[in-house]
């Protein structure tokens, strides 16, 4: 007896409708020639690029600047975040030293504090840093990157440690016997083996910084220093209706590259998502 599959497709299609409605709506808003929320329907009524050209020429929203700021801030933060995270993970996974367990627990504990509340302390700290080193003060990309790196030895370290634990210890042991230093083992043996996981963790960090509006909103108040999230939120926060097309066009240009990367890395994602579960 052959099992019927049509009901599986029915469920799948229903899920697709649910998943895709907001995204199709966003596309149709971006292509909507009128550019307001009230005139946008689910399916595109026209195909005009007027929202895109408005986006690039609106002096109140220097979109290209925001895009570059976002790439710089999120890119640099994500790369350093992974590097610091995996160094810590390596030490916790492969080296034995005093305070190892306490260190792991401590990292976990600090992460559990809702750290937006320390916004004031961070803000005051960066006012004083900016007084001495203006390049790292408020309204600078470097300052925000520093704050983001404060969390580098955090969840990622745990996640990556879980992954490094699954790499057989014989591999680095034999390298050590051949006379490799710890630094060489780390760079020449462990990093290449952990590359898929590093890519996934880097992507997750990048996206979490991309979505971050709280610190970025407080630190970057100058229009030309803003990130995409802060800038685009500003476009619709006051008035949902009038600048909607511009918001949608800007969102699409910001979101599509991320979506493509996710699709490209799809097979690594599952591994990355469940790695935390492999070893706690």
């Amino acid at each position: 007896m052959k099992e019927r599959l049509w009901w599986r497709h029915l469920v799948g299609l229903a899920a697709l409708v649910f998943a895709l409605v907001p995204i199709i709506f966003l596309v149709s808003a971006a292509l909507n020639p009128v550019g307001t929320l009230s005139t946008t329907s689910l399916l595109p009524t026209g195909a005009s690029l007027s929202n895109f050209s408005k986006l690039f020429h609106d002096p109140n929203s220097p979109y290209v600047r925001w895009y570059v700021n976002t790439l710089v801030i999120c890119g640099v933060s994500a790369i350093l975040n992974v590097l610091i995270g995996v160094s810590g993970a390596y030490a916790f996974s492969r080296l034995r030293f005093r305070g190892r367990r306490a260190g792991l627990t401590g990292i976990m504990l600090v992460q559990m504090f809702p750290n937006f509340i320390s916004l004031t302390a961070l803000y005051l700290t960066f006012i004083s840093i900016g007084g001495v080193l203006p390049a790292f003060g408020l309204n600078t990309s470097l300052g925000l990157i520093l704050v983001y790196l404060g969390g580098a030895m955090g969840v990622n370290t745990w996640l990556l440690k879980g992954y490094l634990d699954t790499i057989p210890g014989e591999l680095d042991e034999s390298a050590r016997i051949d006379g490799a230093t710890e630094t060489q083992v780390f760079f020449k043996v462990i990093l290449p083996l952990a590359r898929p996981m590093l890519v996934v963790v880097g992507l997750f960090s990048f996206v979490s910084f991309l979505n971050e509006i709280l610190l970025a909103g407080v630190f970057l108040t100058d229009t030309k220093h803003k990130t995409l999230a802060v800038g685009l939120y500003g476009l619709v926060s006051g008035n949902h209706n009038t600048d909607y097309g511009e918001f949608a066009a800007g969102s699409l240009l910001a979101g599509v590259p991320v979506v493509l990367i996710y699709l490209y890395l799809q097979k690594y994602l599952v591994k990355g998502l469940t790695a935390g579960a492999v070893k706690g």
Binding site: N115, I117, G150, G151, T183, L214, L273, G280
Partner: protein, 518 residues
């Protein structure tokens, strides 16, 4: 493998030397500025950081530290220190009206109370600095009606001989002074608050600026008596006494001066969450919704994700790749964008949902509709993640076990319940706990979708969809009457709650594993 000492020295590789060199160069570059600004904390920190890095990277012993120190320094500076500072403010009344120290508050009240006496003389005013820009200290050049010039700073006035200054022939205003830069009107205007707060003490009272080019002698109308700890309003003769970090009127009228100062209040912020009815009511309401929201979010996303994973998990199912690519989209699209899109789809007048269904529902305007909308959006944002996870875990279910159960005559549902579910649950449990913790503090969703609203009548701090973290955010940074101390105390409670729940959850998982791993 102990290498002889000379070999260890030989292993001092150049990247490490360069790194330490760069750090040291940076310190050498910044320390003069720090000394210049009298920032001794800054000097201490940069010397200490450089010394630690040099020790760790240039000596052979500290191998583990080499991998841990950079991250740890950043962690201490930008997470541990701010958190510690915050916890310490939880024991104070810090917030609007209580931001200063007591002596600052007294000085501020007195300076604000300087009033011009009727008929008092006015000066022509020029503002001057030692350096070219306006960031440093400034002084007043004052020309009295007789043409005599005095220079005034925070310590008092000194006469200036006419030979050292050039005066405007008509007004007598100083336009040049030897050794000083006279600021332009635009620069003076740019001083803003600093100029308004500046007062030059003199015998009769204080000289303050009025406009950009005039000054007057004013008198205090508030006088502080340090011995009696009282502040007296000399116009009305009202006496204010120190009490709980503020000056309160001694006549029992309940009047309090708006500027107070920061004092320690012990555990008051913590106990008031339970004892003060005005805080307890909203707090408990928000707490219950936070837990319900987090639990329901985890359950709904997991249920939908698992359902889809099971549906797709069939060897002859065609288009599985396409399905999972498309179902990934809600997860791959940056959440700040899609949350804002949902928020506009819920819009009562222009939103897509009302247009599609031909309804006129105020999705985000009534309490239960808004809560439902929040959950629906979070389901949309979260189910692809659970789908991916469950699809991965389903691969790990031993096929032989399923076969055996089926041969033994178990129904498809029975196989699912007794074979598939336990395997999936064990794998997913830590992620479900993590997801609970994440949603418990899902600030972005609430902030971007409803901003806590709608608000019940009579409450402007705790909305119907507020979760603890968005409620606390409003307490700390909300427009009116920020209560930073209270917000810090509640943050601490959130920390304890999430910690306990996570800990309990992980213990439960371990027990679960033991049960199934027999």
């Amino acid at each position: 493998m102990t290498a002889p000492p000379y070999e260890r020295v030989a292993r001092l590789s150049w990247p490490r030397v360069v790194f330490v060199g760069l750090v040291a160069a940076f310190a050498v570059f910044t320390i003069p500025t720090l000394v210049d600004k009298h920032s001794w904390t800054g000097v201490t920190i940069s010397v200490a950081v450089t010394a630690i890095l040099a020790y760790v990277y240039l000596t052979p012993k500290r191998i583990a530290a080499r991998f841990l120190v950079p991250g740890t320094i950043l962690l201490l500076a930008f997470q541990v220190y701010p958190v510690a500072y915050t916890i310490s403010t939880a024991f104070t009344n810090y917030g609007d009206g209580h931001r200063l120290t007591q002596s600052q508050a007294v000085a501020q009240i007195e300076a604000d109370s300087v009033m011009e006496q009727p008929g008092a003389q006015r000066y022509e005013l020029s503002v001057a600095t030692k350096s070219v820009d306006t960031s440093g200290a400034f002084v007043f050049f004052l020309t009295d009606p007789d043409g005599k010039v005095e220079r005034g700073d925070a310590s008092g006035v000194t006469p200036v001989p006419d030979a050292q200054v050039t005066k405007d022939p008509f007004t007598g205003k100083v336009i040049k002074a030897a050794g000083w830069h006279i600021l332009t009107g635009i620069q003076v205007n740019g001083l803003g608050q600093r100029l308004a707060a500046f007062a030059v003490p003199t015998q009769g009272g204080f000289i303050k600026s009025v406009g950009l080019s005039e000054a007057y002698v004013g008198q205090f109308t508030m006088k502080y008596d340090a011995a009696a700890h009282t502040m007296t309003d000399t116009r009305t003769n009202t006496v204010y006494k120190e009490s709980d970090g503020a000056f309160r009127a001694a006549d029992g009228s309940g009047k309090t001066l708006p500027i107070g100062w920061k004092i320690g209040v012990g555990f008051k912020n913590f106990t008031s969450v339970l004892t003060n009815a005005a805080i307890r009511g909203p707090f408990l309401r928000v707490l219950i919704w936070t837990i319900a929201f987090a639990v329901l979010s985890v359950l709904t996303t997991f249920a939908l994700g698992l359902l889809l994973a099971v549906v797709m998990d069939h060897p002859r199912m065609r288009g599985r790749k396409l399905y999972s690519s498309l179902l990934l989209l809600p997860y791959a699209m940056p959440a700040f964008i899609t949350t804002l899109v949902w928020s506009s789809m819920y819009n009562k007048d222009f939103g897509l949902l009302n247009k599609l269904f031909g309804t006129h529902i105020d999705w985000l305007g009534s309490p239960w509709a808004a809560r439902g909308s929040v959950l629906l959006t979070n389901l949309w944002l979260g189910f692809p993640y659970m789908f991916l996870v469950c699809a991965g875990l389903l691969q790990a279910v031993p096929q032989e076990l399923k076969e055996v159960a089926r041969v033994d005559g178990a129904s498809a549902f029975r196989v699912f319940r007794s074979v598939t579910m336990p395997t999936v649950l064990i794998g997913a449990m830590p992620l479900l706990i993590a997801s609970f913790g994440y949603n418990f503090n899902n600030f972005n969703l609430i902030r971007l979708l409803t901003d806590g609203g709608p608000y019940p009548s009579g409450s402007s701090t705790a909305g119907d969809t507020d979760i603890l973290i968005s409620y606390t955010y409003r307490l700390a940074f909300g427009g009116q009457g920020a209560q930073y101390g209270l917000a810090s105390a509640i943050s601490f409670l959130i920390f304890v709650l999430v910690g306990l729940i996570t800990y309990g959850g992980f213990r439960q998982t371990r027990q679960l594993e033991e049960v199934y791993a027999r």
